[in-house]
């Protein structure tokens, strides 16, 4: 894809009115790509605003340097979505106009979606993670006017309108198409109340240790029971929570729930039992993460507990000094670090060796079918050997068949998590299951 016509500077820098030099912009438009008969000119204007960068950050850092880096990164990322037929103009600190010539309306909507998708991933600047929200309004020439000033205003107003309705939205004139479905928008807006009023709850999936011949821990899994839509998959609501910043509140709620669960387990005389909590990278890399964690550990007496944090392998790819530092701090607090979905990313052995990881949770895609697939068998054997060499424990996820469990036993005694041994259940059911097994009446579910 060739580079777009790119003018990465503010056309008219008037700090009082923030006014655009429309004459200059029109001149640029004419000069750059309006070769056709004026009567046949068709173009669309995408007014884009990026925002939300400071959501998790204090203001005592070097803002100027950070902003410059951020602006530069945004510009590069934005350019990568455009072609030589598009024109990009930066019109404000974090505002851009893209002009697309001679294209049908749906192509502009598609480009808007593409831009939205590009910025759905957080930006890393000097080890800090910035979550960028995007709002886009689109207007069309000549359907909505022939005056450039008016067309830009139409696109800008639409952008502002969708911004009021929520983050990461697109508005076009004709169809008001949006990136997120209405249902997703509704769920996103309902999330704070759901976290608040207990619609989000936790299930526990027990982990069976072949070494100890007992359940030695459980993973906590967040679930959302929506009053109108019933059970909402975490695959839907966790990304939404990451988008609107609610992931921090959700993580805090999970840790508080873990503290309560440890008390219940204590009362049931279930000792030496770990609880694994999934920690989102969006929460982990926020400025307040460590202080918040310290607060929870101290005030909710989680310090002496068998607390494990699960981070995804994908996150390790952002192998920054900041991440390394925070992982060491977590470990120094006595928390065990697990790498979730191991095998789905591309972590090198070198990276693994450098990180303070205690446990590898091997993704179910490596486990399922291990009894019949020789390649998977050999691959898993290699992973287990590597983990042993790095002094890491292994948890095998997604065991559903006895045959798979039997094959696993041949490698080394592992810890196993899967429907064969235990489904995700409420805390009371977990306690009952552990007690039954320890009383000798236990069986797999």
């Amino acid at each position: 894809m060739k580079k777009p016509v790119e003018i990465l500077h503010v056309l008219h820098h008037d700090s009082c009115s923030s006014a655009l030099d429309y004459a200059a912009l029109m001149e640029l438009l004419q000069r750059n790509f309006f070769q056709t008969d004026p009567e046949h000119i068709r173009f669309s204007i995408l007014f884009i605003e990026f925002y939300g960068f400071n959501q998790f950050y204090g203001y005592n850092e070097n803002l100027l340097e950070r902003d410059q880096l951020l602006i530069s990164k945004i510009g590069k990322k934005l350019s990568s979505a455009l072609t030589e037929n598009d024109m990009l103009v930066r019109v404000g600190d974090y505002q851009y106009i893209v002009v697309q010539a001679d294209i049908p309306e749906r192509v502009s909507s598609e480009l808007a979606r593409q831009i939205m998708h590009l910025f759905s991933e957080p930006c890393m600047i000097n080890g800090d993670m910035f979550y960028i929200y995007t709002s886009i309004g689109i207007s069309f020439y000549p359907d909505e006017g022939t005056d450039l000033y008016a067309l830009i205003k139409v696109a800008e107003n639409k952008m502002k309108k969708v911004q009021k309705n929520g983050k990461n939205l697109i508005s076009t004139v004709q169809d008001s198409s949006i990136l997120l479905t209405e249902r997703q928008m509704e769920l996103k807006q309902a999330l704070p109340a759901a976290i608040e009023n207990g619609e989000i709850y936790f299930l526990y999936q027990a982990q069976y240790s072949q070494v100890h011949q007992r359940f030695t821990g459980a993973e906590m899994l967040a679930r959302w029971k929506h009053p109108a839509y019933g059970e909402i998959s975490p695959e839907i609501f966790i990304p939404l929570a990451e988008q609107n910043g609610m992931i921090a509140s959700l993580s805090i709620k999970t840790l508080v729930a873990a503290s309560k669960a440890f008390i219940v387990l204590d009362h049931a005389h279930i000792d030496d039992f770990s609880l694994s909590v999934n920690i989102s990278p969006v929460f982990l890399l926020t400025a307040h993460f460590y202080k918040t964690l310290q607060f929870l550990l101290q005030e909710y007496e989680l310090n002496e507990r068998n607390l494990h944090f699960e981070i995804t392998e994908e996150m390790l790819l952002e192998h920054t000094d900041y991440l390394l530092d925070i992982l060491h701090k977590i470990k120094n607090l006595g928390i065990c670090i697990e790498v979730d979905d191991f095998g789905t990313g591309y972590t090198s052995i070198r990276q693994l060796a450098d990180l303070p990881i205690d446990i590898l949770k091997i993704d179910k895609s490596f486990i399922q079918g291990i009894d019949t697939d020789k390649k998977k068998h050999d691959l898993l054997k290699a992973i287990v050997s590597m983990a042993e060499a790095l002094n890491m424990k292994v948890i095998a996820e997604g065991i559903e068949k006895q045959e798979e469990a039997t094959v696993l036993q041949q490698f080394a005694p592992l810890t196993i998590q899967g429907y064969l041994y235990a489904k995700p259940v409420q805390l009371e059911a977990l306690v009952e299951k552990i007690q039954k097994l320890s009383a000798g009446n236990g069986n797999t579910l």
């Binding site: 704070p192 109340a193 976290i195 207990g198 609610m246 921090a248 508080v256 918040t292 607060f295 005030e299």
Partner: protein
Amino acid sequence: MVRRVLIVDDFEYNLEFEEKVIKSLTKEGNVSIHVDVALNVAEALTKISQNAVYDAMVIDMNLPDGSGSAIAKEALKKNKTTKIAALTLYPEEYENSHALFDLFLRKPIMPMDYKKNFKQLLNLEG
């Protein structure tokens, strides 16, 4: 000097959370804070009528038996200097229209933000 505060919320989870944040504040500095809690408007009004003057209050706006505003009005009748924060999922709905409150805090509660705002409410150093 002991400061006396009242926190009102119908979710016990929140009351416990707020108490712990305030407790951590007490541990950090040279301030002693006594915390009273109430789960609804009726309980809060009883506490206000029975107790001595409160230095500050953090009131959930959406309570099962009414609005947090009723509590704020009563508290200010008793003592005009009581500092009052409204706790709500939608602070922007109240911010411009309410003269009863000194501060608007967003739910769900984030401990570090709550701590900072609470210090501001009680006019504590640091």
